[in-house]
Symmetry: C2
Subunit: 140 residues, 2 copies
Amino acid sequence: MKPNLDEKARRMLTTAALYCTEPRIAILKVLLEARRPVRQDQIAECLGDRALNKVTIYRTLASLVKTGLVHRAFMQKRASYFELAHNCTETQCHPHFTCSNCGTTHCLTGFAVPMAPSRYRGFVIHHQQVRLEGLCPACA
Amino acid sequence: MKPNLDEKARRMLTTAALYCTEPRIAILKVLLEARRPVRQDQIAECLGDRALNKVTIYRTLASLVKTGLVHRAFMQKRASYFELAHNCTETQCHPHFTCSNCGTTHCLTGFAVPMAPSRYRGFVIHHQQVRLEGLCPACA
DNA sequence: CGAGGAAATGCAACTAAGTTGCATATTTCT
DNA sequence: AGAAATATGCAACTTAGTTGCATTTCCTCG
């Protein structure tokens, strides 16, 4: 595959002050190559032969989320979907579009959604998240 | 409490072409009185003495969602939160605000969020959902 | 380079939200 | 009132995610 993915993952881990372990590098590489948010079991499946314990994947994802490298993008059918935090500003991530026909979710990275005001009736708004639903190009 | 709640619940069920059963009326009354989305176990707790089986609550909520009377507002910590669909237009519900300090979620019913365009790069957009995060009035 | 302590991993057992099959009870229609 | 349609309750199950603990790996410092 791409020879620099490994280096990229290592750099991300060191800047986040996390140990550079094989499992973490492998998981980050999956996330770097994924074009949409992924679940724990999808990561495990991508790793195939060099399998990881699901506990390791969950704990790694938790560390990556805590350090801000990864976002818990959304939940669907009781499962969390994760994605790298690049393509996200501090106040909002790109919208996620779920097709009501085929169920797949797409990242609408180029889509600009106006940010809510930072204050409203005593609420201080830090972050906004938009989910869209409808028909994807394939189903429409 | 309010004497007309019972009648209101009954009317909602008949217009939705659902059997008017005691469990359904009781659940609808809880939803009518709730000021924020509720979980299955919160509904059960509200009913107190005249308790219902959790399966009944889940199945009732499923019917109410299918007929459009209720929305699955969001998920938090692997649990679904439900609310009545009034206050919602066909293309978008009111935004939900979750406090990152105390964890409670509020409905921002008065809050207008511009609707996304109905088409974007082949995607046909039917519905939009906005979640906000920050500090609630009590925590700010 | 090679300890040694800090942190990460793996396993098994557990938790909790939600679902399914099936027998029984309730509602609606006529 | 009686029959058919639908809803309820129970117990057992499913599944995503978590916890405790023993073992392994990583990084730092001499």
